[in-house]
Symmetry: C2
Subunit: 413 residues, 2 copies
Amino acid sequence: MPASPPHASNRPRPARWLSSGNSITQQFLSLGGRPDIVSLAGGLPAAELYPVAEIAAASTRALARWGAVALEYGPVEGLPALRAAIAGRVSAAAGRPFGSENVLLTTGAMQGLDLLGKALIDEGDLIVAQFPTYLGALDAWRPRQPRYARLDWTFAEPTFEATLRQAKFAYAVPNYSNPTGVLVPQGQREALLDTVLAAGTWLVEDDPYLPLQLDGPAPPSILASHAARHPDGPYDGPVIYLGTLSKSLVPGLRVGWVVAEAGMIATLALAKQSTDLSSSMLTQAIALDLIESGFEARHVPPMLAAYRERRDALCAAMSSHLSDWFTWEVPPGGMFVWATARDPGFDTNALYAHALAEQVAFVPSSVFDPDGVLTNAIRLNFTRSSPERLVEGVRRLERAVRRYLAARPGRAA
Amino acid sequence: MPASPPHASNRPRPARWLSSGNSITQQFLSLGGRPDIVSLAGGLPAAELYPVAEIAAASTRALARWGAVALEYGPVEGLPALRAAIAGRVSAAAGRPFGSENVLLTTGAMQGLDLLGKALIDEGDLIVAQFPTYLGALDAWRPRQPRYARLDWTFAEPTFEATLRQAKFAYAVPNYSNPTGVLVPQGQREALLDTVLAAGTWLVEDDPYLPLQLDGPAPPSILASHAARHPDGPYDGPVIYLGTLSKSLVPGLRVGWVVAEAGMIATLALAKQSTDLSSSMLTQAIALDLIESGFEARHVPPMLAAYRERRDALCAAMSSHLSDWFTWEVPPGGMFVWATARDPGFDTNALYAHALAEQVAFVPSSVFDPDGVLTNAIRLNFTRSSPERLVEGVRRLERAVRRYLAARPGRAA
């Protein structure tokens, strides 16, 4: 039955969700390697602060300690000693015990989002997500084809609880949110928790930026707030908490975790088994060493000093170069400044092409909107670049704005 | 709006596919840690052969060479130098060039299966899979809820090409298949390729066991066969090939790869971005060192000698203890012996409980059947245990068979 090979385009088409996929994250990750571009896009830490020698030493120690265990398939749930260490960390923050059965280790917090989609979402299911919404969460859940409603942090909408009742879960990033940098105050955290409890749904608390407290401590996590109300017995609450070492140490270990009641952890472990069997035990063993040795705790404060300087340099340059067209809050932590155009008709998608022509990159607001229609804001990252590069990036962005305005039909520059 | 917390069981239910999920792989992975059980289940390499010291040295060298690059988020597609090395390996096997654009690095080959499901399968789509089917593939695709038809290696069924025409892809493990250990001869590989080409669909060639050639060389991969027909220009064929370092080195690095035409790699990279942003660059950099230094090539032959001894010990013990009830072929490679009961009514699901009572574990055939109705066979692993443990495991299995037969209603022992 010989046959001439058909052209690739005649072969079966990709799954439907891919026609609504985005290639922007991929573009950012590759733009990061181009020295001609000042990238204020992406969400990358400062690579020059990565503790290369310390991680090499930790790798040697981890293999001496764990031997073949560190080179094995997992348990699906992860290296037991690291699960226990994360449970201990959460227990200390919450003031009540969590056990290893409450912890699933993941390939970064991103995989936690993927597993949540797999475990909870069927096509058309509702997610109530804070708006604008972390791009990676939208990406992670797109293959499951959910619908979205907006999480209303003001609780002004009387139907909000009824909406939550229809949802598989609520999604929030209370600490230094991506993309807005907002730190949600304690009162609103408690109000969200109360509403979720009344609605009887799940609450996904995505907390990658916890270590990046630039202006003093953040309020307790929603997980900790809920746990404090129920100090005894196994944790049985609605909060599904996501953490990571990507911000306090390095992203390349790809070590993140989910903390939740034990039944949800078991469900997520089933989803993980069918995704990759297990994450790397070696990078988990290295992570455990870096936590137990106290290195992580020592590493964070000087990193925060550098990030504070960068945030301030970015915001000062923005005041000099962008304040005619944009407004923003100085974020009290995290990695991002969210700037909204004074002109609601400003189109930051159109600005993007002019920015690349000026060799600067940012993230346009449209990608943080499940419907893609929010086009009047930009997200700028301050952790990846030196203060000098940040200032140069903002200068280029000013030139891009002027190009954009000059090119707008019917408008003088 | 305070409210009493609802019990967990009132919260939204998991996604539908989880009600058809299996927890067996998870059980096997945890059984592996119980010294009282002789596990002939699982698909684990010999942990005592893991090259711990060499990997520690490779980790030190990799961090000295790559520095912060090894601690970074990827490119989504993986460490460029390792992509190039895998492309070189495939080019040498195929006798025609493949480039880095034909390679996506994954968290083990298992993630390749997950990404293929995400990238190609919508609910109800058809997969034509060889039968019985690798449990991990069924697990990986279950969240996408496909339908299955059987790949007919005899090509006796006149409607087979028409069935393939309806399928998103065909799925085959031509080398030492999981679960059957079968090595598919060259003629049948070519026939499958011809039929896939005529039908105009994709062909997923899953090849984790390639390094485990116990009785001489395997025929060329289907990818290599197809590539040899089209020696020039970019590869544009239907074969999507999955490989891994889990069998030739260690599983714990979690380094696998997909090789395919560049458009499919780009599609899979989009799916990967939404899954975990990237795999660990550190374990990829370690893998590159172990390949480039020639260590992998040196490591495999003595490992094969050990596996050959184990396979022969297992099969000899089976001849002594199980041949009254089972038949099997001695596999020419891989990790598994597939034994079929002489009595078609033998129920290996029921045998499993008796086996655990005798402290031995195997995999019952039902989990390799998309419909779960194949119950007269067992899969036994020979790579994980010493020859002595294998013999002890088969002795226990004989006792379990006798228990099972004694317990069958209406049957004498």
